[in-house]
Each structure stands twice: as structure tokens, then as C-alpha cells.
Symmetry: C2
Subunit: 307 residues, 2 copies
Amino acid sequence: MNFADKLNKAIKEKNSVVCVGLDPRLNKIPSFIQESALKENKDKFKAAAAAILEFNSGIIDAVCDLVPVVKPQVAFYEIFGEEGMRAYRQTIEYAHSKGLIVIADVKRNDIGSTAEAYADSYMGTVDVFGEETSVFDADAVTITPYLGWDGIKPFAEKCAEYNKGIFILVKTSNPSSGDLQDLVMNDGRSVYEIMGMLVESWGAEDIGESGYNPIGAVVGATYPDQAARLRELMPNTIFLVPGYGAQGGGAQDVKPCFNKDGLGAIVNSSRDIIFAYENSIDYKEEDYAKAARAAVVAMNNDINKVR
Amino acid sequence: MNFADKLNKAIKEKNSVVCVGLDPRLNKIPSFIQESALKENKDKFKAAAAAILEFNSGIIDAVCDLVPVVKPQVAFYEIFGEEGMRAYRQTIEYAHSKGLIVIADVKRNDIGSTAEAYADSYMGTVDVFGEETSVFDADAVTITPYLGWDGIKPFAEKCAEYNKGIFILVKTSNPSSGDLQDLVMNDGRSVYEIMGMLVESWGAEDIGESGYNPIGAVVGATYPDQAARLRELMPNTIFLVPGYGAQGGGAQDVKPCFNKDGLGAIVNSSRDIIFAYENSIDYKEEDYAKAARAAVVAMNNDINKVR
């Protein structure tokens, strides 16, 4: 079963295409978690890592039966150095123990042996003095394509070898994504269309039983017209869709990302779920996990209506 | 003094534009270092990190009076999880203690608060329970521009705030770099030319006394014609030039990267320096640092002839 089949199976089982972004920010983590982490750890970096892991575990427990997949953004862990990276690894482990698929949002990109090192770190195994060990044992990673196929191939090979997936940035959700992605070529195609066609072709050899391949694309909810065009160009590619919620995308904006089978996209939300308690009158800080669960239920309903 | 001034001062003092790439691979580290690390550390990841730090320290000691700058590639540290990231942080610290400028080769790229988190991690300070602390305290980082200005701005702001630098991928050294970078627009310009002009404009407000700005560009030695074109388009931008040596570029290939003042570029070499002992009949494994020093002397001579 390739990564796409595995993901689609989980989507059907849970009737959800929601991806919960685990992007913890220390100063937004409920104070009771911060305080208990500081009490138990003298070292402030260790305390930060402990607070993050405790917070994430609460979110994971609250949403693991409702969604197929979570996506921890590594920047919010790396910021606490090696202790943060330990929390990143342990978050992936904990999510797996609760049956969730994990996308490591790392946007790595490099060539040759360097890209192989990244792929081994996040998708494969690493030789540590003769012992083959997994390190950050994710199911998929996000990749940036500026370097061309040389920067994709080492990751694509791991997809085949270990049944893992990648999501390549194609049309991103941010306001200035057009600086490069919307440039129009001399043949009339835009950079994002060309990238989309390349990504579709790179995955063409490994289409699974569910009709999709393990080489996915990142396509922002904030550009529904471009998403519709990419859906046309990339029938067998799964879209990872950021930009829903906090960034302004609604259910109607993500609709074009789906195929007629109701599959073909997962929609990410981070802040609006994990920090839902902040804007809620129904939930106190202590109930941050319950607030996250309620936000996921609402998001599942909202998106299932349009796919 | 902005980052460009600081770098150019070091280049003049040492009469060198060589950047030593600290890209350790555990299985290529001399066995006496591996064995001693294993003896002193039960945990294999800790032992791998100790071996890397010991190896790097030897290289740094041997080259610190000969070159202005080193560039550790994070993939080769991240591969050993949190212990590897500890070695990354400590390598940066050790290089600083020996007076070297450090470019963190991380090719990070994201938007908004996520990019800010990366910038804080590598170029600024992080608030850890109210304490402002630097984490990976580099002088500059490498950045990938697929996301447009939103993905550059948070890093560019740190350049101004902390006198740090960034190097943005423009034309990379790998064979398939043209997949995206060489696409030609409807106005006749290629993607790498457009990116080059954008990078030059992003740095235009902060040109230092030495005539350069802290927003640099990555321009591969393997494409000298494109480098010459970019030199023309980007008079005030410093190029970080990979591709010399192992990837096939020679001194004549890097020549177009320099301005008439003999500045404007630093040339990276990794394997050919740090693992010079492997291909040497003059040096044994124990003398890996001496072999690295000899390789740097030769590279300095080779490149100083053409600039």
C-alpha cells in the first residue's frame, strides 16, 4: 500500500480530510502547562520542550479519532535547539502511537547526498555506527522545488522504498506567492502550472489502488482559481492545502482542490484548532484540548459539505 | 558594520575568499575519532555527535587562520536527531571562538510567523520563558525563494536588526537546476535573472561601506555564463558559490563571480577539503586536519590567481 492509499484509507475511515497543524508557540501554551514544565525542568530549553510535548499530547489525544493526519511545523521546535528537536521527534512518535499519519512540515530542499541525508532523517533510516535506525520517523515531508528534479529525486526514491510521501510546494497560500510562482513563460504557462505538471509526471509511475500517487503538492486555499487549474492538470496528485481559516480561506475556497471522488486533498488548519481556546467563550484555558476537538468537529462538518 | 562589511574585512585580512563546507559524514570521519567517541559515549547518537564535533574542531583549528568563513550543512547534523543538532550548535560556537564567520546552510523557507521562528533560531534571539537567548547563533543563513518576498522579509529584517546576512538561492550548481531556474518568461528574461534582480533590489537599501549588501545570492560555479550575467545584474550582491572542486567547477569557472575589486564572491568547498586525506598519498588518516589545511592553501592560491 503506497502512502496515498494509506492516507485515503484513513480519510475514509474517519470521514475527514482535516490535517491538524501542530505549530506550538510557547507563549500561547496554557499557563498551567508552562508552569508545570518549569517546575519539573531546571533547564529552560528542556522546560520549553516538555511544555510543547505535553501540549501536543493533549491535542493529539483530543483529535486522534476525528482526523487522519497531523502536520508538525518544525520551525516551532527548532527554535528551542536540540531540546526542541527532541520534542519534535517525540511528537511524531506520540502521534503514531495514536494511529495518526504524520507529515513533517520541514520544506527541506537540497541536492545529491545532502538531500539523501534529509530523506534518511525524516523518511528512512540512518546508519549510526552500523545500526540502521529511524530518526524523525514521519510518513511524509514537505519539499521546496527550486533546485529542480535533483532536489526531488532522493526524496521520491524513499517514497518508493519505504512507502512514504512527499508534498512539493506548487502554489502557496501567501500574498506574495506570485512573485515567482505566477510568472508567465514564453509558452503562456505560469511557473505554478509548469511545476504542477512536473509534479504530476514525477508521481506517474506509482499510482496506487486509490488512484493517487505518493508525490503530492502544496496548493493554497487562498487561490481557488489556480487550485482549480491545478486540479485539472494533476488528476492523480494529492493536494496538501494550507490557508483555510486564519489565512482567510473558507470551505468554498478549498472545494476546487477535490476530485469528484471527494478525495485528492487534505486541508490544514493550525492556530484555529490548537489555540481555539483563546477565542472561545465556551472553553477555559484548562479545556484547550476540548476546544481543539470542537474546532475539528466544526471544520470536518464545514469541509465535508463541499467535497 | 553590516554583514557584508564584516565578511569583506575578513576576506582582506586573510587574503582568502574560500568558504570551508563543514559537511561531516560519520563513515568518512577517521576511525581513531569514531573509536574514541564510541568509547566515551554509550548512546550511539551521542557518540556520533561527539565524533562530528571532534572532527570539525580539528578542521577548524587547522584552517581558521587561512579562511574567513565556514559553512556547516545542517542535513549532516540533523540526520543524528537532537544530538546532531547539539553538535551543529556547538560547531557554530567553536568556529566563532576561532574568529570565523559562520553561514548556516539550512536552505530554510517559510512565511510569516514560521519564517520569523527560523530567523530567530539562526540569526536572532528566542524568548525562552522570558529570557532572550540565541540558539543557533550563525552570522548568515541560506534561504530558498520559492515563496516570494513573504518568505524573505522576516530574514531580511533580522539582517538589519542584528547585522546578519542571508544567501538566497538564485542559480544553483546542480545539473537539473534549469528545470525551474532556466525557464524563460514572456518578456525574455529567465527565472534566475528575475530572481537575481529581485535579490539585488531587496538588498539595495543596506549597502555597506565596502559596497555590498547583506542579502547575498547562491550562484553555482558550474554555470559560468549565467554567473557572468548575474554579476552584471547584481553589482552590490555577494555570491556564495558552490560547485568548485568535487562538483566540477575550476578557478576559471568562478572568475565571473567576482567584481573588479576582487570581491563579491566567496567560494565553497566541502569534501575536497575536509576529507582531503582520503585521496592523499602525503597524509594519513591521523593527519586529516593537516591534509585539510594543505587543500585550503592550494585552493586559496588557485582562486586568488583569478580574482
